[in-house]
Symmetry: C2
Subunit: 175 residues, 2 copies
């Protein structure tokens, strides 16, 4: 950040009065510009035969790798609403959103992941501008070596472990 | 946002190519400015006799009302690290951070809350620039009508309910 987004004046970087960290501060209009981690929301959409919906990324980063639907939480959404929107955008599928089952901190890239269980409502899905392939996979069909991000890998592992154990669990982890 | 924080040019508000929501876009340097919800991290610090650490806010909003330590997650922190930092800033107390036990979506104010259990390491704490009073409270001493925010109220209720049930649980809720 080089310029104040409120007035257009150049900002300076300093610790504001009463604060403990350096911020971009505007000396013209006194706005303090905070930058904070972002929330990624996602879900594992499960079909009635136990298969889960996976998308092959057709956008960078990690184009060609596999993920469940996930993306940035937007203003005004709950994590469940955001995960349902991402599912629609990436796979054209409609889901009934379930509970949060993973919270992952990824401080190196300034992200917090919230992952939900979800129920795929109909077996209607397909490729989109964001996904070159969308398909249902059994656990033994998951391409573990071709997963887009560590958060997706761990989320899927936890999802299947909980299902095998017969009880929905919750995990938080720093990655 | 009226001006581009990268180049200082006025921004326009429109839906970028390939996107679905209007964003502040700079037509001079092509930067798209995303605005996303923020993460609030907090913890319920428990002393060895079962009392929990509460702070009376000495800053707006809700000055004079009670809360456990909580605040905005900063860049580079995990939720546990952020909650420990907030505990230090608001109460001068040191904690051993425990697990996430609540995820609250508060979409109206663009916030996601992550609340941790925590163990107060020493009975050393006191007022700070952010808290006019800091004290240990038994469950029956919590001023339920003087709690700063609904998220704090629900978090405390869940904390005590889980403790009474003898098993650490996890809740997610939209508020």
């Amino acid at each position: 950040m080089k310029f104040c987004s409120a007035c257009g004046h150049p900002v300076t970087r300093r610790i504001p009065d009463g604060d403990t960290l350096p911020r971009a501060v505007c000396d013209a209009c006194n706005t303090i510009h905070y930058v904070n981690p972002k929330v990624i929301v996602g879900c594992v959409p499960e079909w009635e035969d136990g298969r889960v919906l996976m998308c092959r990324r057709d956008i960078e980063p990690r184009r060609g790798k596999w993920t469940f639907p996930a993306g940035f939480l937007e203003i005004g959404e709950t994590s469940g609403e955001g995960a349902a929107r991402e599912t629609r955008e990436e796979s054209m599928a409609e889901v009934e959103m379930g509970e949060v089952f993973c919270v992952f901190n990824v401080p190196r890239i300034h992200q917090v992941y919230l992952l939900h269980r979800a129920r795929l409502l109909r077996p209607d899905f397909g490729p989109t501008p964001e996904s070159s392939e969308v398909c249902l996979m059994r656990e033994d069909e998951i391409p573990w070596d071709e997963i887009a991000f560590p958060t997706v890998w761990h989320g899927l592992r936890y999802f299947f472990a909980d299902r095998a154990a017969g009880r929905p669990g919750f995990r938080s982890m720093d990655i």
